[in-house]
Subunit: 113 residues, 2 copies
DNA sequence: TCCATGTTTCAAGAATCGTTGAAATGGGTC
DNA sequence: GACCCATTTCAACGATTCTTGAAACATGGA
């Protein structure tokens, strides 16, 4: 039996794994900075100092978890952060994982629930 | 040269790595549920269905990143979540990584900045 | 001291992950 | 078609991580 919780948990584990790498975390920050416009794969690669194949490998890993989306436009592939997916991860950490513990919320400058 | 940002980033990568494992994520949730009282290592092990050595390995990994703290009391070792550390990670994701993007905050039921 | 309990350490092996460079693919221009 | 540019795929290799069971360590009680 596979409960909703198990699925959520597996998804969270995958997302955390995606963020548990310096190259990927830097890529994500680049893409966040780029906003809704997104960035071409090659530009991300240059920005983080990764070879094309390395960049492709890590961008694919980010896309695999749904944290970023990709879209081909002519020759280039544009990657774009899925802000809702990141929000979902933060929500998981805050609500499901930490039960909205006031002390956690306080650390983020958030009002208690 | 090692900037503050690099240190922060390295710390975040380590924390995400700690959460990127089913056993450890379950342990963390157990410990959050246990609150300030914490839980003995053996109880955590039973709760997540891990052998003593496996539990010790993963609890040590969590402690290594500072997400949990340990304290020996008599024969037992009590593990306790460091709520501030988790809050710090959420804050990193929300502020440093996502620049407080309104769309991310909205997904967590947070007011825009 | 001897024994029982709780936890950590260790070594060995399997599995997963990340890097590299070369080759392949997709798509535009001449 | 021939050519170029952007990206992905692939195979090989090294590095890291996880699991397992046995042994060691720490502590308290008989």
């Amino acid at each position: 039996m596979d409960t909703t919780q198990d699925t959520q948990e597996a998804h969270a584990v995958a997302a955390f794994h995606a963020l548990a790498n310096e190259t990927r975390l830097r890529m994500l920050r680049c893409l966040v900075a780029a906003g809704r416009e997104g960035m071409a794969a090659g530009d991300v690669a240059r920005a983080v100092g990764a070879s094309p194949s390395r960049a492709s490998f890590h961008l694919a890993a980010l896309a695999e978890t749904g944290l970023v989306l990709s879209e081909r436009a002519a020759r280039q592939v544009t990657y774009r952060v899925d802000f809702a997916a990141i929000g979902g991860l933060v929500a998981y950490l805050l609500h499901d994982c930490c039960g909205n513990a006031p002390e956690v919320r306080r650390c983020c400058g958030l009002p208690a629930c």
